[in-house]
């Protein structure tokens, strides 16, 4: 046996061999670091690419072009039932007055199309709110049609042949005139945040889908969190280990990997066809998403329970706590942060889920904002899917804007997860 530090083989001291190998070791370490760094850089690059493309396409949807018109609230038009009066005529008259040299029915029709058909609703709202304006003339900013909006925002190509454009040469000229007279203005798009869906992009809003998502997630949370946590506690703390619990465990793990559309089919067959629950309702959506989220919550909660050190359990049992007291007073508080994180991850998944909701009719075109759990509704990701499918150019930016809203919701939920974790976290 060699004495420490003495020559071993070939006159080399062991420490020289060790040192000789260090170069190789350091190189391997550096290489590993570079792999890791490049993976992070790559994923960050993709993420920022995604975000930049969505934001650059979507930010303009937060503004909408308005046209300033002198509306004469004509007593002759506004006689009779105010709710069904011909407000469109008021808009048309104001436009004709602005362009007195436009004659001919075709041109007049084209001119009228510059203003959104939704403008008449705005006027009706004004009149119904204050009847004294009847008979007066007011300056009113009315939403422009989506094509005008696109032209003003510069998303419109003017160099193609007239037959291939949605706006005629004359319409483009009128837009230029209006812009020159400062009668066109881009304003904050309130409609986008306060309206439900619409076939007219300038009237379409995200609120209906957001409320649908909200109600759906409430149902999901209220059902899946208690059920999931209770199942996890039972399986982890109380259930005997035998082939039945093994079978249940395998099935839960399998359920977590089942394609989500299968849950939609299940919801269609069971909740709609068998139990006869309403179609397109957040209640059913929530039930379906509960089924989908449960495995995630159960698995995360069991992992959180498993990570509580056995010494805490022994300490509690050792002074004579019952099993229930041990779980409720000592294990559960320590497992809570993990359970909440798992739950919020599951909820975020549910928020972004589209496929199962298509099966239960939440893909319908719904204009009204849902006011309850059984009203027909759609949800944010389905709304994105619907708008992405629409041919109008103005829906492109609205799709991106809706994605931004969805992402904002997800970030907010993750923030809550982090805060809850911080709040409940304890060391042992």
């Amino acid at each position: 046996m060699n004495k420490p530090g003495q020559a071993a083989n070939g006159g080399q001291r062991p420490i020289d061999i060790v040192k000789g190998g260090m170069v190789r070791r350091h190189r391997a370490e550096r290489r590993f670091k570079i792999y890791g760094l490049s993976a992070i850089v790559l994923s960050l690059a993709f993420l920022s690419f995604l975000l930049i493309s969505i934001v650059s396409q979507g930010y303009s949807a937060f503004q909408q072009t308005y046209i300033k018109l002198e509306i004469n609230f004509d007593q002759n038009v506004l006689s009779g039932n105010l709710a069904t009066a011909n407000y469109q005529a008021l808009v048309k008259k104001a436009l004709y007055k602005l362009f007195p040299d436009v004659k001919g029915r075709g041109d007049k029709r084209h001119l009228a199309k510059l203003v959104s058909p939704g403008a008449s609703f705005d006027l009706r709202k004004m009149v119904l709110a204050d009847r004294h304006i009847i008979g007066t003339t007011r300056e009113v900013w009315l939403p422009a049609n989506d094509d005008v909006d696109m032209a003003v925002k510069g998303h419109y190509r003017r160099d193609v042949a007239e037959s291939e454009r949605r706006l005629t040469d004359k319409q483009l000229a009128w837009i230029d005139v209006l812009e020159h007279r400062q009668r066109l203005e881009k304003r904050f798009n309130v409609t986008f945040f306060t309206a439900g869906d619409s076939r007219e992009p300038e009237q379409a809003g995200i609120l209906g889908a957001a409320m649908g998502s909200f109600y759906t997630l409430i149902v999901t949370l209220v059902l899946s969190f208690p059920i999931g946590v209770a199942a996890a506690i039972y399986l982890e703390e109380f259930a005997p280990t035998n082939k039945w619990t093994d079978l249940i465990e395998v099935n839960i793990n399998n359920l977590a990997a089942v394609p989500s559309i299968v849950f939609g089919l299940l919801g269609l067959a069971v909740f709609l066809n068998f139990f006869g629950l309403p179609r397109s309702a957040p209640l059913v959506g929530g039930l379906v998403l509960t089924l989908m989220t449960l495995p995630t919550i159960i698995i995360a909660s069991r992992a959180a329970l498993k990570s509580v050190p056995p010494s805490i359990r022994e300490a509690a049992l050792g002074i004579g706590s019952s099993k229930m007291q041990m779980v409720l007073n000592h294990v559960l508080p320590l497992a809570m942060p993990g359970m909440l994180t798992g739950t919020i991850i599951g909820m975020a998944q549910a928020l972004g889920e589209t496929a199962p909701l298509l099966m239960i009719g939440m893909v319908a075109f719904i204009v009204d904002i849902p006011a309850g759990f059984t009203d027909p509704a759609t949800v944010l990701p389905v709304q994105i899917y619907l708008w992405a499918d629409s041919p109008e150019r103005a829906f492109v930016e609205r799709t991106s804007a809706a994605i931004m809203v969805l992402l904002a919701f997800l970030i907010a939920m993750n923030l809550v997860a982090i805060l809850l974790r911080k709040r409940f976290e304890r060391r042992w």
């Binding site: 300490a315 509690a316 049992l317 002074i319 004579g320 706590s321 320590l334």
Partner: protein
Amino acid sequence: METNNSGVEPEPTEDGAPEAAPALKNGRLVSREDRRTVGIPTVDNPRMRTEHVDVYYNYGEKHAIKDVTLDLARNEVLAMIGPSGCGKSTYLRCLNRMNDTIDGCQVSGKITLDGEDIYAPRVDVSPLRAQIGMVFQKPNPFPKSIWENVAYGPRIHGLATNRSEQDEVVETSLKRAGLWEEVKDHLQDPGTGLSGGQQQRLCIARTIAVSPEVILMDEPCSALDPISTAVIEDLINELKEHYSIAIVTHSMQQASRVSQRTAYFHLGDLIEVGPTEQVFTTPLHQLTEDYITGRFG
């Protein structure tokens, strides 16, 4: 503490080790192959009595304790020594049924507390464990305040129902555990923030807060420095005035310092029981002598 016999010349006892007589026939030790218990495992009027207990792990695969008969007297400290894996901790955990929590652990034989079979079908383990407290190898305070650590047990057992009663039990328990002076000004600090020795004394305070009659200690000082160890040993000496204490230890010095009787376990067999001084000076069994002279273990 009282034993039937000094143990130098063991007499066969009714259910202890009837055929353990071969000891010291002609001044020689019992051979290593003989695994019957030598010495006197029983005492008069014991606090706890264990009769022919066998413990199996993994549904009968591992025979952890083989036919152990051993008594714990009133107001004594019984030390259990032996090499790692000899079953002394397993035996200790039988006494308050902590082995119930291990899947596949089977206990047979009879263990009584003041004559009552603790494995009888109707026995509820919660009050039993309040009666037979346990201090674990690694200090394991709850991740809650010092006050809450001590008050929790009395509260769940209904021993201290209002705040002033709980304050009182916290104070007396911490005083008895010798921790009061050090923590009385920050009872709301987390128990996990104390030093190792303080944590272990907190665990002892938590155990005595529920007024047990027996305290089981599973190597309570193995994670502690010598000074904390000395403090806890002093504490054990004081506690034996009120409680019966069974302590598992790897340190023979500790066993000789704190205990009145010592039991030596070897691979699941109880080899020798006797007054501590006799076991360490004139062991009867070859295996015991091997162990205490440091031949193995």
